[in-house]
Symmetry: C2
Subunit: 242 residues, 2 copies
């Protein structure tokens, strides 16, 4: 049988237009820290997440009484309840509640993909569930890395490689995408000592500088949840998938 579903990797929002495929499942990735935080929020019972692009929108929601997570360059905004450390989204705080969420790279990336067949939020926390979901759907897949201010970043690309490798084990999937191939090779290289490898990533230095690097290990822990955050209209909602 010919392999019929292709999988591709887009390294940054700046190249989304050339990869855009509205028939595809798009997996949005921002490992440090937005998509990891979103998965954590749903693990802890958040009802839905409202991604907003601008701080003005986030502020307006705050004034309406919403719980608001908002940061820029890793720093929590004054008006917000918290930033995007996954450790902020505790059960106590988020269970049963909607959360408004605005981050440097993550939320805009999610909204760019909104016309796709499906937008899923991917992180190591739910990587195998995402992979199983993709195989159950049998469609083209685009792994869309949030990157850093339109630049390639290591931590998202490594995740892309890890996920692409899992999916390509299915004989219905193929890739002729150089960025997917590069991601897989980087993943193979990094995998034996992932945290050690991530030491050199630019974002790791940014987080350390701001004393926000306590999340590194958690953000690279696989399979803590079988919930996939899915975009429905303008909201992210939790999809339990087994």
């Amino acid at each position: 049988m010919d392999r019929k579903n292709k999988i591709e990797v887009c390294f940054t929002p700046a190249t989304y237009d050339v990869f855009r495929n509205d028939e595809a499942i798009v997996v949005v990735v921002d490992i440090l820290r937005a998509t990891t935080a979103i998965c954590s929020a749903f693990m802890n019972g958040a009802e839905r997440i409202i991604p907003v692009g601008t701080l003005e929108e986030a502020k307006a929601y705050k004034e309406l009484g919403f719980l608001v997570a908002a940061e820029r360059d890793g720093i929590v905004k004054d008006f917000a309840d918290f930033g995007n450390s996954p450790f902020n989204f505790t059960k106590e705080r988020v269970e049963g509640k909607p959360i408004v969420y605005s981050t440097t790279n993550g939320t805009n990336t999610i909204m760019m993909a909104k016309d796709s067949y499906k937008v899923l939020i991917g992180a190591y926390l739910n990587i195998s569930t995402i992979s199983k979901y993709i195989l159950s759907e049998q469609r083209d897949v685009l792994i869309f890395c949030a990157g850093w201010k339109n630049k390639f970043n290591l931590e998202d690309s490594l995740f892309a490689g890890a996920l692409a490798q899992q999916v390509l084990e299915d004989s219905n999937f193929y890739t002729i995408c150089d960025s997917a191939l590069a991601s897989i090779d980087l993943w193979k290289m990094a995998k034996p000592n992932l945290i050690g490898y991530i030491e050199k990533a630019a974002q790791r230095h940014r987080l350390k500088k701001n004393k926000l690097d306590d999340v590194l290990e958690f953000c690279h822990t696989q399979n803590l949840t079988n919930i996939i955050p899915v975009l429905e209209g303008n909201y992210l909602v939790p999809l339990k998938f087994n």
Copy 2:
């Protein structure tokens, strides 16, 4: 001594704006095949190369009597004298002559960087000379990959890794650029069997399909020339550097 010159890698023209640094030396790379072909042309005595973006411009030059190299997606245009196989630029054809040159990704990439301190044309053919030139200048460096239609490609990124690694051996250079780090790791992985590694690159398949893959080995041969093609105004001219 603090390392004072940074080296960065831009994977595609789509992200040039976020890397743009007009004080830097920009090394433009399109290994398969434009920048390899340009180096070959100067090895064989071309007087200068006039890069043009559109086929209309190339055609207009042809009507004025210029020697014209023009291709799209690897296919030579009817009106042109030849395409962008480095084997086309023979001594017999090009010695002492100006050449007008338009290719899918390469020529537009060169012109995007024209306001930089210097624009150099890089290929394996002149990699060590480029590296020596960079070290003699002691300035920031941006390796600018032409990519494929605004996508990342393997062959240009591998070259970027090879060059970045050479330059970073000098204690005045540093990088905190994730794409430079990824390129270096991909280069380390590919280097022991470079032609074997390139087998999986998308462009390698495109060239094979069009029976243009006779150039693979030549395009990955190091240090055949000490000439660096340099942009001066609207022309590329040869700079001999020892």
